[in-house]
Amino acid sequence: MASDESTEADAIGEDSSAESTVFDVTADYEQSTLDYYQNQFDIWVVEPFKILWSDYRGRFGIIVVAFYILMGTLGPVIVPAPEPNQAGRLIQPFENPSHILGTDGLGQDLFGLMVHATPAMLKMILSGAIAGSVTGVILGIIAGYKGGWTDKVIMTWGDTIASIPGIPLLILLAAIIEPENPFVIGIILNITGIAGASRGIRAQVLPLAEKEHVEAARAQGQSFSGLIVKEFLPHLLPLIFIGMLGGAVAVITASVALYFLGILPFTTQNWGVVLNIAYQESGAMYNPRARHWLLVPLVTLTLLNIALTMLAQAFDQVFNPRVRARHRGRKVEAEETDEEEATNVDSELIGGQMQQ
C-alpha cells in the first residue's frame, strides 16, 4: 500500500505532504510512563475496588475478609497462642476483657484458638481455591477450544472424579495421604472443584470460540494465549471468581468437617479441631455453660463463608461492562450524558422489542 514506507518515518503531527494519510498519524505530545502506569492502576485496581465498595455486599465482604486476613497474618503475632490453663475454664464470652470470646473447657482462650487456626485455614483456601480454580480453568479452556481427543480425555477424567461421592473420596484421600501441610490439604479438599470448574468453563468456551470477535482477533494475528487472556478471560472472569470463592467456601467447610470428624490429624490448628474437642471430648452439646465453645468456631467459619459469598456476588458488578461504563459515569459531562447513557442502556432493553 502506498503509505507503507512513510509509516516508519516519525513525522510527528506533520500532515503537510500530499502522500501522508491517516495511517501516518503519530502524536505530537507525550505521555510519561508514570501517567501510563497510573492509568493502568486506576483501571485494574482502583476502579474495581470502588465498584465493590459501592455495593453493600462488596463492602461487607471486603471488610470481613480483610479482617480475617489480618487475623491470619498479624493475629498470631499479636494474640498469644492458646495453651491449656492459661485462664479459668469455660469463662463466658464478653465477660472478661482479656478473653473476649471466653475460654474452652481446657482453659484456652477461644479468641486465641480462632486466630491461631486462621493462618492454616488461609493457606488451605489459597491452595485449594486458587490452585483448584486455576487448574480447572486451564483444563476447561483447553478442552473447549481444542476439542477433539483432548477435550474427551479431560472431560472423562473430570467426570470420573466428579462421580465419586465427595466426602467418602476426601476421607479416602486423607486416610491414604495423611496430609499435614495445609497447602496439600487445601488441594485435596478441592479436587472435585477442579472437575466442576473445568466443565463449567468449557461450556462457556465452546460458544465463545465461535464468536465473531474471537475470529476477528485471530485475523489480527492474536496468539492462542492472547486469545485466552483478551477474548475469553473477560467473559470467564465472573465465573472463575465465583468458582474460586465457592471453592474457598468448600475448602473451609470440608476442612472443618473433616477435622471435626477427626479424620485429618490434629497437628494443625483448625476451627474444626476446636469443634471436635468441644463436641466429642467434652460433650459441650449438653452443657449450657460450654455452648459458646461450640458457637464461637461455628460463627467464625460461617461468617467467613457468608463474606466470601457476598464478595462473589458483588464481583459480578466489577466485570459487567454496563456497570463499568456507568461507573466511569462519563462523570465529566455529568448529568446530561448520564441521562443519555442511561437511556441508551434502558432503551436498548425496551428496544429489544422494537429492533430488528
Binding site: W149, H213, A217, G221
Partner: protein
C-alpha cells in the same frame, strides 16, 4: 481491475472446504474397515472446487443464499477457514504453508495475516463486550506497528474514527460496545480492519444487520475507503441489490454461488443487466422491484423453480448441481458438470451449457415435462 504485478494479490486455486463430523469412535476405526462396511461419513461440501483471483484494488461481491458456501469461501480466502483441498495463495505463496513455516522466500506469515482482514455481519458479536473500544483497537496496532508509542496509537485510532464517521472521535475512546448504536459499532469494526492497512478485507454481510437507511451510508463509507486506500474487498451478501451497489460503484465483479460452486461471474452491471446463468436469473427475479405495481404483480407470480428445497450439501446432485431445480434443465445437465464458459470469451462467465451454442444440451430432452420454463423479468 486486475493487477499489473506478477503476483496476484489473492489466488484461490481449486479450493474445497469439506466438513466431516466424525464421532470419536469413528475416528479410531481404520478407514479400510469403514469402507468395507460402508460406514464412511459423507462430509458437508461447503465449498467444492472453486477458483477465483482477486487483484489489487479489486472488488468482488459474492452472492448466494444460505448453503451456497459464500461465507465459507470468504473465510477460506482470508485464511480463517482451513481448506481441505487446493491452495490459497497470497501473492504467490501458499497461506497455510506460510503459517507453518513462518516465512517463505520474501514473504512472512505476519505479512500475510496482516494483509487479510474481516468485517463481520453482527457488529455486537464482533466486538468484545468486556473491553473498551480503545482496548480492542489498540491490540492490532501494537502487533503490526510495534514502533508506535501509546500516544501515537491513540492518535492514529482517533484519526481513523474521524475518517470513518465516528465524530467527535474523543467521544468514542472510552466507550464499551454496548454504548454504541449498531451503525457506530459497524464503523468500529471497519476501523479495526483498516488499522492493519490490509490488502484485502472480507466483508461478511456487513450491512444486513443494519437499518435500511444506514446501509447505503455504510456501503458508501466502504467504497470511499476502498477507493482512497486501494484496499480490495471481498463482499459477501445474500442480497443482489447490495452486490450491485458495491460492485457497481467500484467497477468490481459479482460472483454468484450455488451449493459450493461459482456459477456465474462478471462485471457487476453486466451480471445484473444480463444474467447468463438460470440461477442468477431467478435471483434477479426474486428481488422485488420497488414500484408498487411491479411489486404487486411480482408477489402474485409463481416461482419458476422446479423444486423448492435446496439439495443437501452432503450429497449434491450429479452433473450440474442446479439441475434438480433449474427451469431450463435438460438431460445433458444430469450427467455432465459445466465449467465456466463465456461465449464471447470475455470476463462475464457462466457455468451453464446454454453458453455453448453447439453443445449437446440443445439436443437433449427437457427435464420439465412441459418444456422450458420461462423466467419472468
Amino acid at each position: 481491475m486486475s493487477s499489473d504485478t506478477d503476483e496476484t494479490l489473492l489466488n484461490l486455486d481449486d479450493i474445497s472446504v469439506h466438513y466431516a463430523d466424525e464421532s470419536a469412535i469413528m475416528e479410531v476405526i481404520p478407514d479400510s474397515v469403514k469402507a468395507r462396511f460402508d460406514w464412511e461419513e459423507q462430509p458437508v461440501r461447503a465449498v467444492d472446487g472453486v477458483s477465483l483471483d482477486v487483484g489489487e484494488n479489486d472488488v468482488v461481491a459474492l452472492v448466494g443464499e444460505s448453503g451456497s458456501g459464500k461465507t465459507t469461501l470468504g473465510k477460506a480466502a482470508v485464511g480463517l477457514e482451513e481448506v481441505t483441498d487446493g491452495e490459497v495463495r497470497y501473492r504467490g505463496t501458499d497461506f497455510w504453508e506460510l503459517k507453518e513455516n513462518g516465512q517463505i522466500d520474501g514473504t512472512s506469515f505476519q505479512q500475510a495475516r496482516k494483509a487479510l482482514q474481516i468485517v463481520h455481519q453482527d457488529p455486537s458479536a464482533a466486538l468484545n463486550p468486556y473491553r473498551t473500544i480503545m482496548a480492542t483497537l489498540t491490540d492490532p496496532l501494537k502487533r503490526w506497528y510495534p514502533d508506535l508509542t501509546a500516544v501515537d496509537r491513540r492518535e492514529r485510532i482517533l484519526s481513523l474514527f474521524d475518517e470513518c464517521g465516528l465524530t467527535p472521535p474523543r467521544e468514542y475512546e472510552d466507550r464499551y460496545p454496548h454504548e454504541l448504536s449498531g451503525g457506530e459499532k459497524q464503523r468500529v469494526t471497519l476501523v479495526r480492519a483498516m488499522l492493519a492497512e490490509p490488502d484485502l478485507i472480507l466483508a461478511d454481510e456487513p450491512v444486513s444487520a443494519l437499518d435500511v437507511s444506514l446501509r447505503v451510508e455504510l456501503m458508501d463509507l466502504m467504497i470511499t475507503l476502498q477507493q482512497r486506500f486501494e484496499t480490495s474487498f471481498l463482499f459477501v451478501t445474500h442480497d443482489l441489490k447490495h452486490a450491485r451497489y458495491i460492485a457497481g460503484k467500484t467497477g468490481g465483479r459479482i460472483a454468484v454461488m450455488y451449493l459450493g460452486e461459482i456459477v456465474e461471474i462478471g462485471p457487476a452491471e453486466e451480471v445484473i443487466r444480463n444474467p447468463k446463468h438460470p440461477y442468477t436469473q431467478i435471483l434477479k427475479w426474486a428481488t422485488l422491484p420497488s414500484h408498487p405495481d411491479d411489486a404487486q404483480k411480482a408477489i402474485q407470480a409463481t416461482s419458476p423453480l422446479r423444486k423448492r428445497d435446496i439439495p443437501d450439501p452432503v450429497d449434491p446432485p450429479s452433473g450440474c448441481r442446479f439441475h434438480t431445480r433449474c427451469p431450463k434443465a435438460r438431460e445433458a445437465c444430469v450427467d455432465e458438470s459445466p465449467e465456466q464458459y463465456s461465449e464471447s470469451g470475455d470476463s462475464h462467465k457462466a457455468a451453464c451449457f446454454r453458453e455453448i451454442p453447439d453443445h449437446q444440451y440443445w439436443q437433449s430432452e427437457h427435464l420439465n415435462e412441459d418444456g422450458e420454463i420461462m423466467i419472468p423479468e
